[in-house]
């Protein structure tokens, strides 16, 4: 069952981001989808052929998280941006949880923006640990280092150079500010409220039950 590249038409006219930048960013994303499908198919085929103990299998396996997360993180990132951004609702369960875990919403934001300013290439992600319900702002080195096990990603910000250099040059703080202003908080709140449950999962299992 291959992954399909999604279109993100709601990004047209995103304030603070040029069409040129978004076009190349979406093109880059499609490459991750393609490579995720390719690696997954080749890996499974190696096992079928009894070649799971080879160095090729091992190194493709080691690489898999880089491609898969490059796909998934971009989807979450594009999804939580909007040409018609929606501010955080003060009555939402997420807002309440942020206040509970960070004291004030402003403190959380300083922390998230601080993570986005870290030296290096990667992602800033607001996550929720489903075991304790606790929120964390986390840093990922590139796509594949630093994600907490089992966590639910709520808000995702790309800080690879490709995300801003075309429009902002070396001024990463200006990009981060533009990002913060373009968030659709309804999406973020929905992720918090609907947790790990996804319709895709229920469908896959129900289909199998029926068959």
């Amino acid at each position: 069952m291959p992954y399909h590249a999604r279109t993100f038409d709601h990004l047209k006219g995103l304030r603070g981001f040029s069409d040129r930048l978004m076009k190349s960013h979406l093109g880059l994303y499609q490459g991750y989808v393609k490579n995720t499908n390719h690696l997954a198919a080749v890996l499974l085929n190696k096992v079928k052929l009894g070649k799971a103990n080879t160095i090729e299998y091992a190194e493709m396996k080691r690489r898999f998280g880089w491609e898969f997360n490059g796909m998934r993180l971009h989807e979450l990132y594009f999804e939580n941006l909007s040409a018609r951004p929606v501010p955080q609702r003060k009555a939402s369960p997420l807002y309440e949880k942020i206040r509970q875990d960070f004291g004030q919403s402003g403190t959380w934001e300083r922390g998230f923006v601080g993570v986005g300013g870290m030296r290096g290439i990667g992602w800033a992600v607001l996550t929720c640990d489903p075991v304790s319900g606790r929120l964390f702002n986390v840093w990922l080195d590139e796509h594949d280092a630093g994600f907490p096990v089992g966590a639910t990603p709520l808000l995702v910000m790309d800080v690879f150079e490709h995300a801003y250099i075309q429009d902002y040059g070396m001024d990463r703080p200006a990009y981060v500010q533009a990002f913060m202003k373009a968030i659709d908080w309804r999406v973020v709140e929905r992720r918090f409220e609907s947790s790990t449950f996804r319709p895709g999962l229920a469908m896959a299992v129900n289909k199998r039950r029926a068959g």
């Binding site: 103990n53 601080g114 075991v131 986390v138």
Partner: protein, 206 residues
């Protein structure tokens, strides 16, 4: 603010194929991850409150955090999917049928998981479920923090750090992997899958 607390895993000292010192050392090591997760989280939170979130100390603690957190969480899931009274996976279970659906045959999955456990390096092997599509993957993590698939949920977790292997099996990692397979708690794995199939209010699933 919740702190993380060390959980108890009394069954570890009775695992067939594993020694008591192996279990005790492993539990002591796990405790250090819990302590350091709490410590790092507390220091970063305090620094954030006093406006020190732009410092290099904060940044490097932030970069390190998942190493400690995952070291804690992965050990908990690993201990939890081992049992002193093991049984073979039930071919009628949801997890068995899901494995057959995604990998063609159960034995192919098992071969893929075991060989992933043979990858050169230090880390973990995870059978993970992608909730977006319901698809299963055998995943390799380098150490605790590199390679995890974003948003996926672990169903079965195997430690392949040297501390898990050397104490009982020396350099023979393949033998350790076999011993691990003999003590998998398949009911626990089935239960993890079942939990993920239920809609959960809010972020908390357990």
């Amino acid at each position: 603010m919740k702190e993380y607390h060390q959980k108890t895993f009394d069954h570890l000292v009775r695992l067939p194929g594993f020694t008591e010192p192996w279990a005790k050392n492993h539990l002591a090591l796990y405790q250090e991850y819990v302590d350091h997760t709490n410590l790092l989280a507390e220091i970063m939170r305090d620094q954030l409150k006093v406006g020190k979130s732009g410092t290099i100390e904060w940044a490097e603690m932030k970069r390190r955090f998942a190493w400690e957190f995952n070291g804690m969480r992965l050990h908990e899931m690993y201990f939890d999917n081992l049992t002193a009274i093991p049984s073979a996976p039930d071919y009628r279970s949801q997890i068995y049928r899901k494995i057959e659906e995604d990998f063609g045959q159960y034995s192919l999955w098992e071969q893929g998981f075991k060989k992933t456990g043979g990858i050169r390096g230090v880390g973990w092997v995870i059978l993970a479920l992608d909730p977006e599509t319901g698809r299963l993957f055998n995943v390799w993590l380098s150490e605790h923090d590199t390679g995890l698939l974003v948003g996926t949920q672990p169903l079965l977790v195997m430690d392949v750090f040297e501390h898990a292997v050397f104490a009982g099996f020396g350099l023979n990692r393949a033998e350790y992997v076999e011993a691990f397979f003999n003590v998998i708690d398949w009911d626990r794995v089935e239960n993890r899958l079942a939990l993920l199939l239920e809609p959960q209010p809010g972020c908390v699933i357990a």
